[in-house]
Each structure stands twice: as structure tokens, then as C-alpha cells.
């Protein structure tokens, strides 16, 4: 069984009158169990040069076996320009903006509804995004392309 651990520390010495310090850590499990997630896309890095809205993660088909299984999403905007941001949407509803250096970590329970997770860069001048999915189950669709390419 794999162990995936996510830890977070939030600190500030001047946000409030007394210093703020919040720390938490947890292992991510399969739904309703203490068995660790066993699959991942790895951490991908892409360089986006258009302001086109793209899907990072797609929904499942109707009645697919992996519907409702547990997944976790990590996304980071590695831009260094503070004016640049990536808009994150789920089901085409805006979750929020990741400005330069911002990251997010959230659960994602995939269903056959339109729960795709998408990203839209604010600029077309190039934005590097890191992202990864840790998941319990992911259906790989059968290939529909049966063509055979022969030597010309």
C-alpha cells in the first residue's frame, strides 16, 4: 500500500495581534477506508502559450466504475509575474485564481456529471503550470483508432 502525505503550514507574524500558526497533515486514502491511494499521474509541468480554457482533468463516463472514487488534485502556477494568473474552474464554475506562485490542493470526486477541472491562463506570453492527480481509480478508454500506418 502506498502512502501519500499532504502537509500544510500557514504562518503570519503580523496578520493579527498574535502570531498565526496553523499546521496540519494527513494521508490520502481510498474512499471510506484507511487504504492509501495507489495511482497517480505524477507531477506534470506544462508551458501554456494561449489563453484558451483547457481541461486538466476530465469527468468520467456515465456509470463508469470509477465514478465517485476518491481523488486529490494539486495545481501550482509557477509564473514569476505577480500580474499573471490561472483561472481554475470546475464544471465551468470559477473556483478562483491562482496568481504567480500560488498552489491549491483539493479533493475531487469524479462523477459522470460535467465535473471536469479546467484552467485558463490570463496571458498568452507563456505560463508554466504544475499539476498532478492522485487517484483511486481512473478509467482508460479503449482506443477507437484502429488504423495501421504503413511505410510510404
Amino acid at each position: 500500500m502506498a502512502t501519500t502525505t499532504a502537509s500544510l503550514t500557514i504562518t503570519s507574524s503580523d496578520l493579527v495581534g498574535d502570531a498565526l500558526s496553523l499546521s496540519t497533515t494527513n494521508n490520502v486514502y481510498k474512499a471510506g477506508t484507511t487504504t492509501g491511494l495507489e495511482q497517480t499521474t505524477g507531477i506534470a509541468s506544462v508551458y501554456l502559450t494561449a489563453t484558451t480554457q483547457i481541461d486538466l482533468f476530465n469527468p468520467v463516463r456515465t456509470a463508469a466504475a470509477d465514478a465517485g472514487k476518491n481523488s486529490w488534485i494539486y495545481i501550482c502556477n509557477n509564473s514569476e509575474d505577480e500580474t499573471e494568473y490561472a483561472t481554475i474552474k470546475i464544471s465551468n464554475q470559477t473556483v478562483g485564481r491562482l496568481y504567480a506562485g500560488d498552489f491549491m490542493w483539493m479533493p475531487w470526486n469524479r462523477s459522470a456529471r460535467f465535473v471536469d477541472v479546467s484552467l485558463t491562463p490570463s496571458v498568452a506570453t507563456g505560463m508554466r503550470i504544475e499539476y498532478g492527480l492522485f487517484y483511486e481509480s481512473l478509467e482508460h478508454l479503449a482506443s477507437t483508432d484502429a488504423r495501421t500506418f504503413q511505410d510510404e
Binding site: 477506508t33 464544471s91 464554475q93 496568481y99 490542493w105
Partner: protein, 160 residues
């Protein structure tokens, strides 16, 4: 201006080559290097029914998110502080049904727009940017406990 740092460490032996990610972000106002300087404080809320309800209402007048300016750089932290691995909160976005079932997502109906984000099981936490959209409740953050026995969540919003 305040300085708020969030550091995330992610480690996994899920693959042959171990995954290790460590990121620190300084929470800044939209499009600037000026730090966020407002927060709700860490809120602790107990739920005793499985009703689907609002946790945060975007730009709500008189609500806890009243001062959060939409379309900026707010960050939202939520944690299920329970320890039961079978109990979870469904975190969603949009209109809460206030009843025992989640509202269905209906693109054609501006009054029923809702989508589930994911489940926070005991001990799980999440940190996301929050748009705080106030149009028809599209940006509301909703919660639905899986059981009617006591479940507790903690959450906090950092905003400008």
C-alpha cells in the same frame, strides 16, 4: 500589509520514483506583491444533520464573507477535523439545496447551478483559491455531512 505564508509538502511512495513536492506561497492581493491583510479567523462549526447547506456565501451582505471582494485572490482553507475515515463532508460550489440531497447541476437554470467538488474524510484538508462570486450564488461554498451524528469542520478565508 501582512505577510501570510502557506507551505505545502507532498510526499508519496506511490510510484517507483518517490514524489516529493514542497511549495511556499506568500498570499498576495490580486496582481500585486502586496500581501493579503484580512482573514475571517479560524472558524469551527459543528453539524448534526446531513442537510446540504452553505458554508460561505459569496459577497453575502451581513454574512461571514461580507468583506471578501469577488474575483480577487482570496484563499480558502477547510478541514474535516473528525477522525472517522468513513465520515465525510461533500464540499461543493453553487446553490445549496438545504435538504437531504445535493442540488443537481443544471447549466440551463441559473437558480440551480451547483457542482460537487469532492469529499473531505476525517483528517482531510483542502486549500483553494476562492472567487467569491455573488451572482445567483454560483460562488457559494457548500457542505453536506455524510452522517447526522456530530461532524465538525474548521475553515478560514484569507482575503483582500
Amino acid at each position: 500589509m501582512a505577510t501570510i505564508n502557506a507551505t505545502m509538502s507532498l510526499s508519496s511512495d506511490i510510484a517507483e520514483s518517490a514524489i516529493s513536492v514542497s511549495k511556499t506561497m506568500t498570499m498576495t492581493k490580486a496582481g500585486s506583491t502586496t500581501g493579503l491583510d484580512k482573514a475571517t479567523g479560524l472558524i469551527r462549526k459543528t453539524f448534526t444533520s446531513t442537510n446540504h447547506v452553505d458554508l460561505l456565501v459569496g459577497a453575502a451582505s451581513g454574512g461571514i464573507a461580507e468583506d471578501v471582494t469577488k474575483n480577487k485572490a482570496a484563499k480558502l482553507y477547510i478541514k474535516n477535523v473528525g477522525t472517522d475515515s468513513s465520515e465525510y463532508f461533500i464540499i461543493g460550489m453553487g446553490k445549496a439545496s438545504a435538504g437531504a440531497s445535493e442540488e443537481g447541476y443544471d447549466q440551463a437554470s441559473s437558480t440551480e447551478r451547483y457542482c460537487s467538488i469532492g469529499r473531505l474524510y476525517g483528517g482531510d484538508w483542502m486549500l483553494i483559491p476562492w472567487d467569491a462570486e455573488d451572482t445567483n450564488g454560483y460562488g457559494d461554498i457548500t457542505v453536506k455531512p455524510s452522517v447526522a451524528t456530530t461532524m465538525t469542520a474548521e475553515y478560514m478565508v484569507f482575503f483582500e
